[in-house]
Amino acid sequence: MLNRTADNVARATPEPLARRIRGISDKGLAWLFISPTILLLLAINIFPLFWAIYLSFTNYRANRPNEVVKNLGLANYRRILGDQDIWIAMQTTAHFVFWTILLQTVIGFTLAWLIDRKFRGHAFWTTIILVPMMLSPAVVGNFWRFLYEPQIGLFAYAVSFVTGIPPTNVQMLSNVELAPWAIIIVDTWMWTPYVMLICLAGLRSIPEYIYEAAEVDRASNWRQFWSITLPMALPFIMLAVLFRGIENFKMFDMVNLLTGGGPGSTTEVASITLKRQAFESWRTGYSSAFAIILFVAVFGLANIYVKALNKVKQR
């Protein structure tokens, strides 16, 4: 009986497509389909990467194509690692990454936890919260630049209303102390919903019966949160931190639109320095070396982090 069923299934299964196209094996067909993507990937990602590695050892400048290109060995790397301005830019980047991740994770998870309560109108509020994330960074940057405007901006008036400080004294983008926070606030406003979405997915994936079992054991809400909710949502939270960490390490658009790296160099993150060296000073070889250093730093840190994430998932 079983054999007969198996025969029927085998007969009903269509002949592999590859066999119908004469002369091409299944594997060959797979390569045929995948090759355009591979070629595109090689042309757009892999070749430029190797080309950048090559340029990083030279004195090449894109604005002087006729000049003889000299091999400098590791000179560009040595110069970057010994450049105080570069280290300051790296510190500024680290400052942004730390605070944006911390704030976005705490607020994002809290919002997800609240939304997960499924109160009346939670779907509506979820949509409202997601709006900033859907806007273009260019729109957000310009929008907040006007909000921060000390003479006409609503932000300055709101702060003035609460604190009594005259609005013209609330100079978020001109003040050395406040400018970094002005960017952190905008990035947090824009990307917290993204963290919230990932955390919400994590919270929704926790089976209901675990909470029911905890209820039977008379575990308090607090206990349930610490022993069930947080540990089970942790891989999702860590995933959100990974995504935001990589993105914020490369943060460019928001800083460029809000402060352009100023006042002075207070908000000059690594990507702004890189852009200035590559496309304003036209030091192509030097900036390629800097780009490689940044790539290795992000890649290395992300790898370490992914290993930690896998360990948490296995627990």
Binding site: P65, N66, E149, Q151, S174, G262, G264, S265, F279, S281
Partner: protein, 443 residues
Amino acid sequence: MKSTWKLALGLASAITASTAISNVAHAEDLTLCWAAWDPANALVELSKDFTKETGIGMKFEFVPWTNYADRFLNELNSHGKLCDLIIGDSQWIGGAAENGHYVKLNDFFDKEKISMDDFVPATVVGYSEWPKNTPNYWALPAMGDVVGWTYRKDWFSRPELQKEFKEKYGWDLAPPTTFDQLKQIAEFFQKRQIDGKTVYGASIYTERGSEGITMGAMDVLYSYGFQYENPKKPYEMEGFVNSEKSVKGLEFYKALYDCCTPPGSSNAYMGEGVDAFKSGQVAMHMNFAFTWPGLQKDENVGGDKIGYFVNPKGPDGDQFAQLGGQGISVVSYSDKQESALKYIKWFANKDVQAKWWSLGGYSCLNSVVKDPKFPSSQPYAQAFLDSMAIVKDFWAEPSYAPLLQASQKRFHDYVVAGQGSAKDALDGLVKDWTQIFQDDGKM
């Protein structure tokens, strides 16, 4: 049926023929690349005469100032054919000449009897020559420009303000002739209530991203005694860039920024300056002269309400102003160089230059600016003439971009962010510039 086929065939032939004719008509269309600003609109108007005279159509590629350098330097560096003619910034001339982006115009000028002696000398050096002060021409001076000042003539002339000012400072409230006077006026107006509105002293350049703060600070530094290099030994900058006088000049610029600018002016350049003046926020406004025709026409602050003055003198009586403006060049990668040269020849014509000025462009031709009627032709004409007589320009070296980036950083760090001292900033600048010239093999 036959008649339908005939009709279709006829239509097809007509379409083919008209396309061919249109291709012939537009085969010689020239594309001129420049920044998107008021003078560019005037040039579009002016160029209609060129098309009428020659039958060569003109297309224009205008890019906002914020992307102007990025866009067109990329175009030139990649040997692009987009631009047949380009009105490139004065600082680009060294790089464009050495990298072969522009056609050298000496032979053409000789052939067409276009003499550089017919143009304002500062504009020839600033916009056309590379190496500087040698008769090697890469552009025809096209748009004269210089940093100067506008002020609220209507506020200055108020009797109650004049009286108060005189009592406080001991001299009549009038356009300043020295930087000390300028600061006193700015302090006087700072946070003053005029017609129920809080106003501020002055709008100055503080922009960080492109060239703003350098163009502004240099106006003060030149007049305080700053020099780019030892006049007797090129590229020797120690003691010139960071001289005591230069330090005092930079300290003054910071003091002016701290005391007398509107709130939130930490990243202000041409557009922000115009906005501050047009919205009635400031008593004085530093900007390039190209903004003046637009301000003069403005209903709220133009007409009788606006006045113009030349960049003031420094403590030792030196007086200089930052050169702006551009020359027009033929791009060496263009396939239509002959037509492009025809445009240059046409543009150099006296009548065309006179019309250029009347439309809002700033002619650099002596016959236009030295015409006895010129100073009274516009309320700002005299201030423009006087300013053009005292210009200095930033490095026009092929490495002008990194040189500019270094000064932008050093000046902004000190003036706006208040980090370190003026001496630190200028010492740092000498270090940066020395490194750049060493990389170039010039030191």
